[in-house]
Amino acid sequence: MNIHEYQAKELFKKYNVPTPRGHVAFTPDEAVKAAQELGGNIWVVKAQIHAGGRGLGGGVKLARSTSEVRELASQILGMTLVTHQTGPEGKLVQKVYIEEGADIKKEYYLGMVLDRASEMPIMMASTEGGMEIEEVARKSPEKIIKVAIDPLIGFQGFHGRKLAFGLGLSVEEINNFIKFASALYKVYMDHDAEMIEINPLIKTGDGKFLALDAKMGFDNNALYRQSQVNEMRDLSEEEPTEIEAGKYGLSYIKLDGDVGCMVNGAGLAMGTMDTINYEGGKPANFLDVGGGANAETVAKGFEIILKDPNVKAIFVNIFGGIVRCDRVANGILEATKLTKVDVPVIVRLDGTNAEEAADILNNAGIANIIAATDLADGARKAVAAAKGE
């Protein structure tokens, strides 16, 4: 789960990670009020969406008067912002963050993420602030300084010094930086974050550090104990069908092909997509119905897949282990009564009682249900059906 910049900065403030002052606004009036409250004569109007690259997309603008704040807020609120991370359809901007201007002397990058190789969080810093870190990693990896932080000892001075000296900071600046980084580590650990990105981190004229931007993502498995983070969840930033699937314990991701897939298990679900692709088709979605594929979950699965108008055929691929295939077959028949399915459904049931299951499906006499014998056969039949063959 991800949160907005302004929400991440709220968490930062509680942990004394310095950020410029700012307020969130949902209307141009609120934006002007926010600017007046902040005072000064320069403000930044920033679109709040869950995607990077907002500046390049025209979602971050500088205002030099409150009337300009109003004008820019009116422009940005309600616009569909397209960045390299939103996809071509873009994202609707529903709120802006009004922030005081900052005295930028130099821009840096600072981030934290779980390093799967060392099985510890790492902190990464770079002098290439404002650039995408993946880009820096590709072009000049030597410009990224990384330290793995063993959670058993926590953030120590030497972690901070390694980063600070690596960035070429002066002795006077180092203490400020270490204080900043140490507080950031606490924000990460205390909230079960899986990612923090500050890009740019800025050094001000007086040698202090400020998080000019803030991006945070969290471990979904830990949300049950992160009530504050949970409250920050913005459902309008997520795919409605993915949210709905989640309510029923299904894991769904929409893709752009025309062969719908319903599979038990995440690995087999990905493998099924790959098989469809291998057989010359294009998967319309990823869908894991979980371990116990019953009539209700299968019916819900059909309903969700069929919300996508591109779907021309559905491939149901279930490997029955503990769950017996004959039960799943009956579940599928029942599901077709609960949800109207008007595209061909290719069903491959393998594992426990697979033959009985095939008999059940064949004897049901439902014209658009086609039984398949194995993974390849099912994928071929589904691809052919989607092409209208």
């Binding site: 471990d219 679900a269 994928a379």
Partner: protein
């Protein structure tokens, strides 16, 4: 022969009396696994499925001599359970539980390593040595005895591959589901040399997926140390970047962890990589010279 577990392995179950623990412990016992007891705090002294229940892992180990623990406790308590097993001298913990917070596993794994306890999982189907010992939730009947070792991040793809291997006339020595979370216990790199050393195992199937670089590490290891043929499939060739595909660890982030790079690394290491998971069985038949 086999790796890690066999017909003599003594197993306890943490979360023994819960719904999942009970159901799967029963299935494991029916398969032939020597389940010698279980742990449910507060229910010590009772009997469950004909076996003793203990309050602590330490008591269970002392009374039964168990060396392996199968863990079914809910996600919020899983790290505690793993660390308790490590503290009590368990040699291998098989963590079935799905949904454990990453931070918790970070601490639990570090402690397990310190205590020399191996772990499998979390969020995995477990481990099975065909016809001898099943510690996990996989359907046992698929795993006919034979000469193929199997390592997989995915549960149902493990069953799919084993089924194909059996249909081609081969069978399984041991199959290990290592799980698809960001932090897992035993991985390819630790399991491959065990299969290499096992005289019964003649070839190895390795199922990976997008995210992380364990498969790349495996490729480097195979190149240097593995002489037995390896067949591999990497799930998620068609997965979009930046989307988590069911498993917490199955995500292409910052352009790395793609199926393409893993497949290329494995191919360069001499592994027979199949593009379609439907070809795993055939590939085994090919490398086994049938």
């Amino acid at each position: 022969m086999s790796i890690l577990v066999n017909k003599d392995t003594k197993v306890i179950v943490q979360g023994f009396t819960g719904k999942e623990g009970t159901f799967h412990a029963e299935q494991c016992m029916a398969y032939g696994t020597k389940i010698v007891g279980g742990v449910t705090p507060g229910k010590g002294g009772q009997e469950h499925l004909g076996q003793p229940v203990f309050n602590t892992v330490e008591e269970a180990v002392r009374a039964t001599g168990a060396t392996v623990s199968m863990i079914f406790v809910p996600p919020a308590f899983v790290s505690d359970a793993v660390m308790e097993a490590a503290d009590a001298g368990i040699e291998l913990a098989v963590i079935i539980t799905e949904g454990a917070p990453v931070k918790d596993m970070m601490y639990a794994k570090a402690y397990a390593v310190k205590k020399n306890m191996m772990t499998i999982g979390p969020n995995c189907p477990g481990i099975i040595t065909a016809d001898e010992c099943k510690i996990g939730i996989m359907p046992g009947f698929i795993f006919k005895k034979g000469n193929i070792g199997l390592i997989s991040k995915s549960g149902t793809l493990t069953y799919e591959s084993a089924n194909q291997v059996v249909k081609e006339g081969f069978g399984i020595t041991t199959a290990v589901g290592i799980g698809g979370d960001p932090i897992i216990g035993l991985s390819y790199k630790q399991l491959l040399p065990m299969f290499e050393a096992d005289p019964e195992t003649k070839a190895i199937v390795m199922i990976g997926e997008i995210g992380g670089d364990l498969e790349i590490q495996a490729a480097e290891f195979i190149k240097k140390h593995i002489t037995k043929p390896v067949v591999a499939f990497i799930a998620g060739q068609t997965a979009p970047a930046g989307k988590r595909m069911g498993h917490a660890g199955a995500i292409i982030s910052g352009g790395s962890g793609t199926a393409a790079e893993k497949m290329a690394a494995l191919e360069a290491a001499g592994v027979k990589v199949v593009v379609s998971p439907a070809d795993i069985g055939k590939a085994i038949a090919e490398v086994m010279g049938k």
